[in-house]
Amino acid sequence: MTDITTEKARIGAPSAQPFINGFTEEGESLSPVNAAASKAPLAGEAVKRHSHGGGVGIPDSSRAGRLTSYKLADFKPLTGMEEDWRFTPLKRLRGLHTEVLNGAAPSVSVTAPDSVTVETVGRDDRRIGSAAIPEDRVSANAWENFTEATVITVPAEVQVDGEVSVLLTGQGTEASALHVVIVAEKFSKAVVVLDHQGTAVVSENIEILVEDGAQLTVISLQEWNDDAVHASSQQAKLGRDAKFKHIVVSLGGDLVRVTPSARFTAPGAEVELFGLYFADAGQHLEQRLFVDHAVANCKSNVLYKGALQGRNAHTVWVGDVLIRKEAEGTDTYEANRNLVLTDGARADSVPNLEIETGLIAGAGHASATGRFDDQHLFYLMARGIPEEVARRLVVRGFLNEIIQQIKVPAIEDRLTAAVERELAATNH
């Protein structure tokens, strides 16, 4: 599966790449292929103009100007040069951007306490479109093609014990569309787990509405089979004093591209966006998030961590945080950390922080990509630790920071085991 050499002779052998000890490589790493096409604003660069709401946006450098529409036809065919597609190998999307998405969609099976309402609805349900509007062609393609949607509602003031478990099982490799709406009504509290399994080629729209005072955690697990292709737009809209925690875990699949976003509509709300990804040889795992501070006095905290091993393992993290002029008193921090375990893997990491007002509580970003190299291995082994244990020690410690955010013991255990399996794969 991978081409990594693990015999001891390699430890400390001159590497083709220079050693980077620890997380010393600050900043971003742009794809050389189409970096020139990038006009992504960097930290602090102000934005002149923006449009929001439905319809056609202004394709300028600001995230605020991005085109949003429910209509596929509004989005031009992809070339791969677009700012938001420049890292994605379009050929491997298997038609999600070009085909009519009428294949069998993953089956949706929801296990939830009685207090939670689960419905299957048609396209004309009033809740469709209440939290999201497609921001790219693949998402719009799913919107145009889904036939029915699953709506999960946590009624007002209900505190759900245990988690709402949504099992999404792939039905094969025909390109398909999927739609889920999650509504946490006023002052409710719940944890929803989206568990993606099997083989699918699917574009998915997850709409998440977190009403005033509600507290919602959504955990999206991508433990697909090796051949799955998955594009997932997960857009959340937050009411006053709402608290939303979102955790993306991408482990399986040939190409997985998750685009979570959180939009504040009233003051006092908080979001935490966490992510964990582990890319093996040949896998492309991409995460592009957007936090839209459109109103005053909201908080956001973002931390994504990724591990990579094997030839052509590729991860992408792009973190767009926009603090609009109106968003005084904003407090935001975003960070991405990658751990490259072997040669031949590549982690792209691009934090974009746009600030349109100086009257904020705090705004920061960090990005670092470190290598677990032969020197680390030598050091740990020189303390008696066998090679395999050393490797596991490093990766487990690194990723655990995200796993422990999940706080659902069964899932934490399952992911810990999954990470161990990923590591074991190096020994083949």
């Binding site: 001891k8 400390g12 001159p14 000890n21 620890g22 630790i385 490093v394």
Partner: protein, 265 residues
Amino acid sequence: MSTLEIKDLHVSIDTEQGTKEILKGVSLTIRTGETHAIMGPNGSGKSTLASTIAGHPRYNVTSGTITLDGEDVLAMSVDERARAGLFLAMQYPVEVPGVSMTNFLRTAKTAIDGEAPKLRTWTKDVKAAMAQLRIDADFTQRNVNEGFSGGEKKRVEILQLELFKPKFAILDETDSGLDVDALKVVSEGVNRAHAEGKMGTLLITHYTRILRYIKPEFVHVFVDGQVVEEGGPELADRLEEEGYDRYATGAGAATIAAASAAAQA
């Protein structure tokens, strides 16, 4: 009692220019309870000797032997050597991302002892050892060596020495980069480990100042990959005054080294 024996060790490395011989026949015998100092100018091969004993794969042993109580050390992997009782306090300790000190120390101790230490006493031991070395308690939460200052890294090496209780400790310039207070603290740590009488020490240094705190019985002068002179502690004092200039490199040195190797054998 244990014995670490190095016999006529030749070590080379592969460079872009080809193979380069760094150690040119080194012989040295250390027994538990003894402290040996190795002194020598920059680039003379001191770290190479230390790394070779620890098993760093960059260094190729072309001839000679290293044995620990008769066991062939060169046949052991890096981790096996550590478990056999060899400890290298590195000149440049490596930062390991993602691994907390706590986790690291416990994992290493477990590997070395072959069983997990009793949690209660272990935590107490770690705390006490850290306090003695004046290492802040919050270091346990930090990643191994990450962001530690040069002096902090050296203290953490000695912390490990005290906790892991090796048979032989090789200290590669543990004194460099330390101020006087830190030097004292670190030396005390080494002396404590030594006091139990179950450890032999190979102290590699440039300077004699650490020898005020750690008293070697034997001093070996290293020049150009060879031991060119051996003696007692008085030799260190002479080096302090005279430097290494009087040791010619090349043929003369080789002769002395060969003679001393023969004498040891």
